[in-house]
Amino acid sequence: MLSSAEVSNRLSGFPRFEDMSLSLPYAPRMPRGMVRETRKVVAIARTFNDEVARPRALDLDRKTHEDPDYMPRDLVELANRWGFYTMWIPRIFGGKGYNMPSMSYFAEEIGSVCLGIMNVIGVHYLGVAGVVASANTRLAKRILGEVVQGEKTGNPCLIALATTEPGAGTDVEEVELVDKGRVACHARRVEGGYVVNGTKVFISMGHVSTWTVLYAYEDLKKPSETTVGLMVKTGTQGFSFGTHENKMGQRVCPASVLVFEDCFIPDDQVLFSADMVRKFTKKPIREVTQRYIDYVVGATRPGVCAFGVGAARGAFEIALRHASTTTMNGTLLINHEWVQSTLAEMYKNVALGRLAYTEANYANSHRGLYKILQLKPVYYYLRFMPQAYFDKVIAPMLEKDYSTRLMGKLSYDWTRPEDQRCCSGWASLAKVAGTDIGVRNCQMAVELMGQAGLRQDAGVEKMLRDIKLLQIYEGTNQLNRLNVFKCLIAPEIPQARVFEEKM
């Protein structure tokens, strides 16, 4: 038989065994408590759906058509009261510290009822990821601490994340592109901080967030080497909101225009910059910036997959209900063979989509952003130590420079590029799979239901409007497919070049 060296050799060929089936090696390493926790999360989501989301979703959508200026402040307050904005903030920062993969199951549940409402809850975690992935523990402690406080006082404190600009959408997702692009949001270094000028567009929840993670560039000609991440508080002088977009779907969740005019951001609100990065790594800043982007979207794209799976499931559930109660030619639809097949296909899509986000989460849990949190000893330690311990012993440490340096080294210096690629590639793969499946199922449901499917009060047309967005944000599915190629395929082909296509 094969020697162990031969086995390793065989398994390192393309596709590398450790990249192709992530659940197989990683599932046994998962702390058991995660299952119990995830069950609880799903039960909470289902309760919220019954008590809040389902009774409101269609009325709210209608209301946003009647009143295009609608802002979801009531909904945000409700979600805050339900504790959703701190559920996935680690306990060292004062949050409830639910395991990160459980958020995907949560997103599927809420997304199966209303993607807009799920976005009102979920986009905040894009902001949280932007904060945490920066490795800046001092600022993370401060901002996330405010979120926790906001929950206690009943004044919601949400975080938005702003990277997209009028002239640069796809370009800001990728350092290879951004230097060729037309970014215009400028951060000028001044005594004690930065002065920002520029505009950001399509920023989800901008109007109703307290903090915005803002990315700007010191040198607009070399953005990949001069990216700065800044925490901007709503109300800061020089920071204002333009309109919010008139969207096709997900209308309860505003997409805002953010305007910065000589907006001063002090040094203690700088999240990420070349100077800071140099303190913990000698790696080229451009590489660190791409890694930072990858950490954020690598963690959030599997979540978008789960949103898509949620919509796919919601569409399936509505179609199933329709087919079980409607007759065609005197026979219940559900008893027509083609309907059974259609429903089975939709069910299959949901199941495959769920597998996709599960795999991508395994990648992140064991080789990505939150791998430390998922190590069994760390997991149980964080789970069972009393909160007072974190508040009194750990919290002061987070303020120290050495803490940021350690996080920086862990996240940016001591990681393997192949792990990074695996996480980023799987995140994109899941994002494309889940969102395409979501669109597909919504289309199938509308078709199956005929004229009943066209009515807003039947729910499925709204899902079709809502789901289309998921193929666009967090990088278009085109960009994400190219990222799958870049991360999971191109490394095997030395002559492959991505984003360098001849004109």
Partner: protein, 374 residues
């Protein structure tokens, strides 16, 4: 495309194009706000003046006397800009064709012969259903020398605007439906608010309940399905022409945007991934127009055995239209999702148009039933 084969259609196409450029372009978002904004009565009046509300109706009955080709070039040109007026033109044409198929020229003459405004011309019809596939049609019974209707009709297109409707109904026991002319101002007619639907907001529909409403038979009793079947192939093609127009509009906007929008240091059309998307859209838009062109010619020549081909190509066009409008949004990225551009509306409208004349699966089964003779 059709007008390059049939020169006599050119003036109609030109007329519809200039109408669209003047009355629709740049205003579609406002028109589409209905029922939360104003209804575009002024546009409809002008469409009526242009003769769009009676394209296939013979001249002696107050119509324009055009062919299926005429209807298709007008629908294509209108829907390229905005499909809602297309939906209104379609519904009126469907009603008129049914009246003609039923040889109810007297009724047609009474309605359209004296019509002088859009309000007189409009007749409501449940355009999203094939009555033969519907289990819950209103019931009719004889009442004195006429008939009376009782029961619900969902999504009666133009029901909130028109004074009259053509309604399919059955007796309590019979399978075959019959068509009736109903006065919607009758006191036994209960109307909902306009139903908020996926697309074509300015071609609105209402849910209706009839309670012993007086009705006048259209053609012969029990022949409704036959009439509907007879007019279906042409109307399927007309609906397909609508979606072909929507596809063309989507491609226009995507191409223009891709030429202007820069990402990664070049116009996005110069990324082959985007070019491929556009190429796919162009292939489908051209195929759709060719199908409509050939279908119209076959219909006009009354070619035997072509009706199922017309229906088949219509089904195909709707399917590819729904793909095109999805990609049409995608080419514009985030902007494609916003009402400032036309793509999101086309995404919704194409699905709504696809649902005209009954659900897709039912139409497919119907088609194969006819082809296979079972």
């Amino acid at each position: 495309m059709l007008s390059s084969f049939k020169g006599d259609l050119k003036p109609f196409e030109e007329l519809a194009r200039s109408f669209a450029a003047k009355e629709l372009a740049g205003k579609t978002e406002g028109h589409d706000r209905y029922p939360f904004g104003e209804f575009f009565h002024d546009v409809l009046d002008k469409a009526c003046e242009a003769g769009f509300l009676g394209i296939m109706l013979p001249g002696d009955l107050g119509g324009t006397g055009g062919s299926i080709g005429t209807l298709c070039v007008v629908l294509g040109a209108l829907c390229r800009a905005d499909s809602s007026p297309g939906g209104i033109v379609f519904t009126n044409a469907l009603v008129q064709e049914i009246l003609l198929a039923a040889d109810a020229r007297d009724i047609a003459g009474e309605i359209f012969g004296k019509a002088s405004s859009a309000g007189d011309f409009l007749v409501a019809f449940p355009s999203y259903a094939n009555p033969a596939h519907q289990d819950n049609l209103p019931e009719y019974r004889r009442s004195g020398r006429g008939y009376s209707l009782t029961g619900p009709v969902d999504l009666l297109v133009l029901g909130g605007l028109a004074r009259r409707a053509i309604i399919p109904a059955r007796t309590g026991s019979g399978h075959q439906c019959s068509f009736f002319l109903v006065d919607l101002d009758h006191k036994g007619v209960l109307k909902s608010e306009p139903v908020f639907t996926l697309g074509m907001h300015a071609c609105p529909a209402v849910d209706i309940r009839f309670d012993g409403v007086r009705a006048r038979i259209v053609g012969e009793e029990g022949k409704g399905d036959e009439y509907f079947d007879r007019v279906s192939p042409a109307l399927h093609v007309a609906a397909a022409a609508m979606n072909a127009g929507i596809m063309r509009g989507s491609l226009d906007e995507a191409l223009a945007y891709a030429r202007e929008r820069f990402q990664g240091g070049r116009e996005i059309i110069r990324w082959s991934e985007v070019s491929m998307l556009l190429a796919g859209m162009a292939v489908k838009a051209d195929v759709a127009e060719m199908c409509v062109t050939l279908a119209c010619q076959a219909l006009e020549q009354g070619k035997a055995g072509w009706s199922s081909r017309c229906t088949a190509s219509a089904l195909h066009i709707h399917e590819i239209a729904c793909e095109v409008v999805t990609d049409g949004i995608q080419v514009l990225g985030g902007n494609g999702y916003m009402k400032d551009y036309g793509q999101e509306k086309r995404f919704r409208d194409a699905r709504q148009v696809q649902a005209l004349l009954g659900s897709v699966p039912a139409r497919k089964l119907d088609l194969i039933g006819k082809v296979a003779g079972i």
